[in-house]
Symmetry: C2
Subunit: 680 residues, 2 copies
């Protein structure tokens, strides 16, 4: 330690950090690293068991650092290292930092794999680096044997050792874990491995116990619990690697498609809220089990779950009454982040698994919006950034370094393919991309799982067994936008008839028209069309989205934004151009519109893997200005104006320079009829 060492003591320089300092001769390299604040991993606490602390000493002249390191600068390879090398192998040139002792000036390189706070790069639309500092970790301790003359309990001896070896204090243990600890100490001959959850600042909890040295499977689940879709990533908490990802439909849909209909269900049925709570908890358990199975682990290996969700889902998952959220003042039972046993919310994971629930921003702006803020960090941006998280309930944030605003808007499930006649979730066979020729009005499309476009050679062969099954969320956005650009759909959202549009793909169905994208009936497959009803559903959804964004822009005092980020469970797949043609987002140079993927899910993942981010978002939510769309009179006005494609009053000048937006109108006499015709 610096207080006990002098310039005469050996100088140790760690790379790549560049941290340096004098240590007493004979200090282990691991201890030197700790004293100098250098990040070197160790699971066994310096007992020469785990091999996590390998370092590469660098001998010779180091003119850059002004020292010369002899090969004798470290103590010779000892028996522990030789034994380990024989059994499991040590890479050439490497030493166990807990065994090698500093005898003279030396330079020590810490390879990336030996650093605790490894940086994990997420494989996603936006490349993001998350510094690994999860709440759950494994620690190995060897305790002094029980001695009847100093009769401290097993747990007290373990705590003493955790304090000495790992500097961890203030640890809680359940009776169940204490029982396991008793047995593990006997079977492990006073050596045990503990899993600790240190989610709260300074307070930890024992969540797993094993005899001897053990490298437990420690997994975490990051969940974006949406009104329609539940998406989750299963991650190895030791490496940060995502081992499985997946989603299920939210089974609460059977109680109501949108949030307010679920609140109504709770209001009208005495056990309604409890039923919905049970359903969503079961879905989470099922999803956890499926992902665990896919990753080849047991659900009991999941020690942590982080959930982000809107306020209604929040209350329903936690078993709180959602009814107060149905009307002003939208009183939340709690808006703070929660750290609670996963079993308290009915989850069957590790017995002592912990759940972390991100804080809510306001009565209608949830933990999912907080997660988007955590992921996209508008508060750190110079350009004024609009973030739109598309879902059944959209989370919208607008801000920059000066100020961040947030609201949520009830878009309904149309963008998730629900309420759409040929809608389906994003799976093999679903149309995800579409183009309509502005002259011939003929479509070409691509389906999930097949690389070729529908007019390219080999498409028919490739679609094989699956066939073309429907349209997913991003597909319907493109379809409607392409219909508008091709002139088969007017600005009011009316589909033209065959005479007016010049194509038989526009055909009558009842009193309105539909546009046929694909007719698989000859092969026994579906006929996939966009109906007038589909257009209306999309118009309602996009108007709500745009009105929410406009409200934030009013509040900010701007008419334009510098950047737009499209996010959502399928955010990565939305085409910015098509979204803008629909008028989902304000006019903005297309190159400034980016896709962030499932930003809420990413936020959950960040909170899972990095403890500091939890404190960050808990602080940030208090800085965000909340705008309540439900009681803001201008929302209705914005909503009505946003009904047109792209917009009734906002000019969308930039967009019009890029794409054709034919001035057709299918409502008037000779141009042919549309949805509003009286009779036919």
């Amino acid at each position: 330690m610096s207080s006990e060492t002098s310039a005469k003591d050996p100088l140790v320089i760690f790379t790549p950090s560049g941290k340096r300092g004098h240590v007493s001769a004979g200090t282990t390299v691991l201890q030197a690293a700790r004293d100098l604040g250098v990040d070197v991993d160790s699971v066994c606490g310096g007992h020469g068991i785990c091999s996590k602390c390998m370092v590469r000493p660098s001998f010779g002249d180091h003119s850059k650092h002004g020292i010369h390191a002899d090969a004798e600068a470290l103590s010779p390879v000892n028996a522990v290292e030789r034994a380990f090398d024989e059994k499991r192998g040590i890479k050439p040139g490497h030493r166990m930092s807990c065994q090698a002792r500093v005898l003279a000036d030396v330079v020590i390189d810490v390879p990336a794999e030996s650093q605790v706070h490894k940086q994990v790069v997420r494989k996603a639309a936006t490349t993001r680096v998350i510094e690994m500092d999860p709440a759950t970790r494994a620690l190995y301790v060897e305790v002094v044997p029980a001695d009847m003359h100093t009769p401290t309990g097993d747990w007290e001896r373990v705590q003493e050792e955790l304090k000495t070896s790992w500097q961890v204090e203030n640890i809680a243990i359940s009776l169940a874990m204490l029982t396991k600890l008793q047995t593990a100490l006997i079977n492990g001959k006073n050596a045990i491995t503990l899993a600790l959850n240190s989610a709260h600042d300074g307070a930890s909890k024992v969540v797993g116990v094993w005899p001897g040295f053990h490298e437990p499977a420690l997994y975490g689940l990051a969940v974006d619990l949406g009104s329609t879709t539940v998406a989750a990533h299963l991650t190895d908490l030791t490496t940060g690697e995502v081992k499985a990802s997946g989603g299920v439909m939210n089974p609460q849909i059977r109680f109501g498609e949108d949030l307010m209909s679920r609140v109504s269900y709770a209001m009208m049925n005495p056990d309604g809220a409890a039923e919905m709570t049970k359903a969503v908890r079961e879905a989470l358990n099922q999803l956890a089990a499926e992902l665990a199975d896919e990753a080849g682990i047991a659900p009991e290996d999941i020690f942590e779950i982080v959930v982000v969700m809107n306020p209604v889902m929040h209350h329903l998952l936690l078993g709180l009454d959602p009814v107060p959220l149905g009307q002003a003042p939208f009183a939340l039972a709690t808006n703070a982040a929660l750290d609670l046993p996963a079993s308290d919310i009915g989850l069957s994971l590790a017995a002592e698994a912990q759940a972390y629930i991100l804080p809510l921003i306001a009565g209608h702006v949830g933990a999912d919006a907080a997660a988007v803020a955590l992921s996209e960090a508008p508060q750190k941006q110079d350009p004024l950034t609009l973030i739109v998280d598309v879902g059944t309930n959209a989370e919208i944030l607008l801000g920059n370094k000066a100020r961040v605003l947030a609201c949520s808007s009830p878009t309904g499930p149309a963008f998730e393919g629900a309420q759409i006649s040929s809608g389906q979730r994003a799976a093999n066979g679903a149309i995800e991309r579409i183009e309509i020729d502005p002259v011939t009005k003929e479509p070409r499309f691509r389906i999930i799982g097949v690389k070729q476009w529908s007019d390219e050679p080999g498409f028919d062969r490739k679609i094989g067994r699956t066939g073309v099954t429907g349209i997913c969320g991003s597909g319907i956005i493109e379809a409607v936008a392409e219909m508008r650009m091709a002139g088969v759909l007017d600005a009011n959202g009316l589909i033209g008839g065959p005479e007016a549009t010049g194509t038989t793909r526009c055909r009558a169905t009842g009193r309105t028209y539909e546009y046929v994208i694909y007719d698989g009936s000859a092969q026994g497959g579906p006929v996939i069309t966009v109906t007038q009803g589909d257009i209306r559903a999309i118009q309602l959804a996009k108007s709500a989205l745009y009105a929410g964004a406009r409200l934030l822009m009013d509040e900010f005092g701007v008419d334009t934004v510098d950047r737009v980020v499209l996010a959502g469970a399928f955010g990565a797949h939305i085409s910015p151009k098509h979204a803008m043609v629909l008028g989902m987002i304000p006019d903005c140079p297309l190159e400034h519109v980016t896709s962030a993927g499932n930003a809420a899910g990413t936020g959950a993942q960040i909170a899972l893997l990095n403890r500091a981010s939890r404190r960050e978002i808990e602080a940030l939510v208090h800085e965000i200005t909340k705008v309540e769309t439900a009681i803001e009179p201008r929302f209705q006005e914005h909503f009505v104006n946003a009904n047109a494609l792209p917009h009734a009053t906002d000019p969308f000048t930039g967009l019009r320079e890029l794409v054709p937006l034919p001035e057709v109108n299918f409502n008037a006499g000779e141009t042919g009829g549309g949805g509003r015709r009286r009779r036919r």
Copy 2:
């Protein structure tokens, strides 16, 4: 506040505390009391609802204090007080301290019933004063209504108010309580009453929620969980009043009479420990339900339980493995005090009831010994005090201000009336006092429930339906001691025959003799005798007790003690003289031997009613020197020497001056035979 006030401000003097200070004119008397550190109760937090804060202003000349108080020194009686007076009445001369404001110099008397830290005098053998400062208390708060523009949750608004009005922070709430809080806030129109448990320093937990102002029934259970007997007091946590007391047999007896046989049972049977855990938890639930019924409350009104017990019972109650306690080094799973949800140990009390388990001293010296230390406080005594807590497992403490030693000794259940042929628990009909005439060898006795002695007029009529049923623990001690003093029992513990003793009450039974105390056979009742087997059981028990005490005396380096305190579930009933004749305790002037009643139970009660005492005992256990009787070679030697009545080698000079100890010997030829005769 002093920092904002000056000598020109009104002077307030509180009696009886004598605390005084200047406050700004217009300050309420309650606020003045808080500012000056005067103990004035308030449940409603100054809202004029609870009437707990009544004070008696004292007007006129106060030469003692050097002030004159006008009748106008306080603000006039206001509307809140008038309304309360009409509805529930205010005593003449009293004011609500939260309503009355200080306008000029005044003297205010705080009656005892308005003090929070009331002192409660226990009705017990030793008069003890416990300052009321229980962990559980009720607080009333009025919160600001939900406001969507500052969208904090219900719980956050309640926390804010608790911080402002009650200076309570760091409060945890379960999801179940949060749900109740939601509803209570609505029903109580933003006013609620909370029950908080603040057992840990600085950390609290919500344990109850009611709408509006409510004075909840808050009860606590103090339990002395012995190997043979479970004793408990049910106490009103608001007043400190004991509402019901009672006991049940420990159902674990069916698995083994003493602790080591229970450990063996756990060792030999895979589910043995779990069976015993289940049995004792059920017994506690049953006892709680019975006492609640007796007190006219529901078990759900019990918000706290404090349990003291020896280490084996400790592990068995908590569901920990007791097997390591069966052999050296007697490794405890934990020795620290525990604060955990009562439901974690299977108790059906209030849903959020908390359990506090006193710390253990060592592998064989338990929380019951700690409770005795808390109750009897040897560390605060000048005279060297020996405390003997008599039970199936005896807790023995020896100490003074300089040092405290502790051990436990496996006496077996003889002193609790088990293993005694006519033994029974202390209930109506049991012989509790006995005298034997040294000349006629005739006994007279008293039974529980009847005032008269057996030779007094009216006894036969009074015993009525119950009859004479057996001998309780204190009765058997007196019987054996009286037999020794009357010369029907020799120093080796042999009962003499009719010829040798000159009484037909000594009669043969098999190869030994027994002494007939009562023959009820003519009335169809029992014949109550003391058999040679009973004597042997008492000898084993008392030898273990004495040997333990001697071991502590050796360790302390003394041959005598200044004081002896006899404690135990029936400690209050043991006659010091008879205990000394048996040689249960060392020779000591009889006036220095006192009975403390159930000291362990009292310790539990202290810990229940006063939080500071928990910290006190948690610190004290680390200062106590533990002596392990099981591995101390001298224990065996002391045990053998203590077999004689009163002792083979210790002179008991003081005792011999007070009582006759005839030099009879029933082992030799012509004086008649005893238990050790070869043949008859």
